[in-house]
Structure formats: structure tokens, C-alpha cells
Amino acid sequence: MSVSDGRISRLRVTVTVIIALILAVLPLPRWMDIARPYLLLLLVIYWSLSAPRIAGLMFAWLCGMAIDLLKGTTLGQHALAFLLVSFLTHKFQLRIRIFPLSQQTMTVLFLVFLYEGLVWYTDGVLGHPVTTLARWIPVLTSALLWPVVVGILDTWNRRSR
């Protein structure tokens, strides 16, 4: 396996992941904390689409484990959800890639919804259900953030070709 995937290097992926991890634990006021988008999940989707050789299933799984570790949830819970999203992204990669941005955002909304659903379900299985409707807010904010993430990362990738 080559170190670079076209124009995108492993270093670049790592840097974005570290930034996303920092933003995942950055203390925010309560109302913002509830709506905090899943930036790392968006990155996993983005890199799975644009650099599938680097960002494979294992990459997504490790990102999920990192979230489990930082957030203090049961190990493997977010890893499983990341894995599912990554699998679907890879499966339909060729299609999602050529979607117009609006349609892509809808797909991401669906993927993040699946993710949250799986985390919600495993929460229940593990015996600490969080049933408030507020837990679904990040699904919306994440989908809204998708065009921004794509805009920033595409610009960055294009400029330093």
C-alpha cells in the first residue's frame, strides 16, 4: 500500500483527526455542548470518500475507539458505530462522491442518524439509556457542518496539490 493516496498524504489525515479529537473534548457552554457536531465522524466520511486507501475500515474503527476513550464510554461502543458508517460510505463511495452537495448532505444526515441510532441502541443494551430528544440535535448540526467541512478540506487539498 502506498504512503500517499493520490495527492492526499497520511500526515494530512492524521492532522485533521487530531484537531477533531481536540475539538471533541473542548469544554463548551452547556447549550453548545449538547449541539456539538460529530466532527470526527464527518472526517471519517470525508476521508473514506476522497482517500479510501488511507481511510479504511480499520481507520474508522480506531477513530471510534479514540472517541470511546476520550468520552469515557464503554470501549467499542462508538467504534462499532464508526465502523458501520465507514462500511456504508465505502460501499456506496462511487455513488456518494458524484452526488451534488445538497444530496451529499442528505446522505450524511442519514449516515449520522444511523450512527446516533446505533449508539442509542447500544446505550440501552448496556443499561444506561439516554432517551431525551436532545441527543438527536448533533445529528442535525453534523449534517449542517458537512458542506463547511467539504469546503475547507477540498480547498486545502486543491491548493497544496
Binding site: 500500500m1 493516496d5 493520490g6 495527492r7 492526499i8 487530531i18 479529537l21 481536540i22 473534548v25 473542548l26 469544554p27 452547556r30 455542548d33 449538547i34 456539538r36 470525508y46 470518500l49 476522497s50 482517500a51 486507501r53 479504511g56 475500515l57 480499520m58 474503527w61 479514540a66 476513550l69 476520550l70 468520552k71 469515557g72 464510554t73 464503554t74 470501549l75 467499542g76 467504534a79 462499532l80 465502523l83 458501520l84 462500511f87 465505502h90 460501499k91 463511495q93 462511487l94 456518494i96 462522491r97 458524484i98 452526488f99 451534488p100 452537495l101 451529499q104 447500544t122 448496556l126 444506561h128 439516554v130 436532545a134 441527543r135 467539504v150 478540506l153 477540498d154 487539498n157 486543491r158
Partner: protein, 303 residues
């Protein structure tokens, strides 16, 4: 759109098929979840992996520490003086209280000796700082800057100057996660300080509310009663303040009264908490009873 920067080489023939990867990693995830959930088989793994996470905490912490340092260094003199005066005053009050406390401890020890019950009173504490990171939005947890390297263990009681804060839930090398008593999954066995009625104070998931669901309508609980830990869980030592009763509603048709309490610890304002190593009260064994017969020869070791 992602297309612009996408690499357009064929994706066929790049390692194992997707389905196999999903299956394998899915199984691994489930196994890891079960191991972690049932009895914490992965505590050691978590310990070491959290060491890898600590640089991220450090990065998040740096601006806050820098700000604290700046405000600390440029604090003006008059403010420092008033603060100093206040602290001296507080220290004086605390000293006076402590004098009485010493006498009481001594009396308590004597009484216990008379009853031949040897409950350990020696305790060790360590101050830990709360790391300014956000964990899960709907749980009440905090991360502290002491971990296994400092001797922190799972289930260790955590206090502040006003009462019980919570207990250690996960331990890392140099950090630990503390679950607060207000978390919806936490419960502390308590007793009413006035008359010793035992109950359990459960967290509600709200910031300043504990609920005591197992007090019958006849039980003698009043608004303003102090709740202290009863020590029956063998996690929290007995006698530490937990909360005050804020609401008692008795409905004659119900079996249980609706009792709510407010935690005394300043859960939302704390910057520093106290980790406690308490000697477990031993069940009075024959040997212990013999030892307790000669108290005059061995003066009690304090702290």
C-alpha cells in the same frame, strides 16, 4: 464537492473485501464492549491507552492554565490583601472548629474502645484538579488530573470542602474519570443525620437534585434535614455530608414519600476535589478486640 480532490484510481483490489472487514471488526467491537462492560476486564488496557489521550487533554487545558497564570500574576495588590484577610479569618474559624473536632474524635475513639469496635479513623487525602474537558453531555462526569500513578483506584470516594462529590469510575495513568452523585446512574446510601433513618440518594441527571425514592410516607424526614453517607456501601466512609432535604411531599395514598435533596458539594463550581483513602472499618475480630484492650499504652495515631 468531494469529487474535485478525489483520487480516481480503481478501488478494486485494495486489500480484504469490505464485508469481511466489517464482520471481523464488528465482532471485535462487540467482544471489547462485553469485556469492558462486564467486570472491567479492560481496565489495564484503558490505563495505558488513556496515557496516549493525555496529550489531547493537555492541549485543551493549556489556554485555561495560561489564563489562570496571567490573572494570577497580574492580580492587584489590594485584592490580594483582602483575599489574604478573608483566608486568615476562615483559617481562624476552621482552627476553632478543629479544636472541638479533635476533642470529639478523642471522645469518639474512647467510646468505640469501650464498645470494642475498632473502626479505622485514619485517612489519607490528596487534592486533585478537575481537568477542563467535556465528557458526555448527558452524564455527570468530570476528569481529574490524578491517576493510577498517584494510587487512585476504581470506586474511590471523591469529596470537596462541603460534601461528597462522587466516586472514581475509570482510572488512567495520570487521569481518572469521576462520576458525580447527581448522575442518573449513581446512588449513595445515606442516613438522616437527625435520627438515623437510612435511605439511598439517587442522582437524577439534573444539576442540583438528588432523589430519595425509598422513604415511606410515615418516615420522619423534614425539609432542611442533613443527609450524611451511611457507609453501608463500603465505598463512601460513614458520616460525610451528602445533601440537605429540599422537598418532602407526602401523599396518603402512596407507599413512599416524594423526597428530594440538594447536594452540598459544589458540583458545578469546584476546581479542586479531594481524593480519599479511607481505612475500611474492620469487622471486630477476636485479635482486634484484644488489641483494643490496651489503648492507654498506644496513643492513637492521627492522620
Amino acid at each position: 464537492m468531494v469529487t474535485l480532490s478525489s483520487d480516481s484510481r480503481p478501488i478494486i483490489g485494495r486489500g480484504p473485501p469490505l464485508g469481511a472487514g466489517l464482520f471481523f471488526l464488528g465482532i471485535v467491537s462487540v467482544v471489547v464492549m462485553v469485556l469492558d462492560h462486564r467486570g472491567g476486564y479492560l481496565d489495564t488496557a484503558r490505563l495505558w491507552m488513556s496515557a496516549a489521550a493525555s496529550p489531547i487533554y493537555a492541549v485543551v487545558q493549556t489556554p485555561y492554565q495560561a489564563w489562570n497564570w496571567l490573572t494570577g500574576s497580574f492580580a492587584d495588590r489590594s485584592r490580594l490583601r483582602t483575599e489574604n484577610e478573608q483566608l486568615t479569618e476562615q483559617l481562624r474559624v476552621a482552627r476553632t472548629k478543629l479544636l472541638r473536632f479533635d476533642a470529639l474524635t478523642e471522645e469518639n475513639r474512647r467510646l468505640r474502645e469501650i464498645r470494642e469496635a475498632s473502626a479505622g479513623v485514619s485517612e489519607r487525602t490528596l487534592i486533585a484538579e478537575i481537568i477542563n474537558v467535556s465528557v458526555q453531555p448527558f452524564r455527570h462526569m468530570v476528569v481529574i488530573n490524578k491517576g493510577a500513578d498517584d494510587g487512585v483506584f476504581r470506586g474511590q470516594p471523591v469529596l470537596d470542602a462541603f460534601g461528597v462529590v462522587g466516586q472514581v469510575m475509570q482510572v488512567g495513568k495520570s487521569t481518572a474519570t469521576v462520576i458525580l452523585i447527581t448522575d442518573a446512574e449513581h446512588a449513595v446510601p445515606v442516613r438522616v443525620n437527625r435520627n438515623g433513618i437510612r435511605s439511598i440518594a439517587m442522582g437524577t441527571g439534573e444539576d442540583a437534585k438528588l432523589s430519595l425514592p425509598y422513604l415511606t410516607v410515615e418516615s420522619d424526614v423534614r425539609r432542611g434535614d442533613l443527609l450524611v453517607s451511611s457507609g453501608l456501601d463500603e465505598i463512601f466512609p460513614a458520616g460525610y455530608p451528602v445533601g440537605t432535604v429540599t422537598k418532602v411531599e407526602r401523599n396518603a395514598t402512596d407507599t413512599f414519600a416524594l423526597v428530594e435533596a440538594r447536594p452540598l458539594a459544589r458540583l458545578d463550581r469546584d476546581r479542586e476535589v479531594l481524593l480519599l483513602w479511607a481505612d475500611k472499618p474492620k469487622v471486630p475480630a477476636p485479635e482486634a478486640a484484644i488489641e483494643a484492650e490496651k489503648p492507654a499504652a498506644t496513643p492513637a495515631v492521627k492522620q
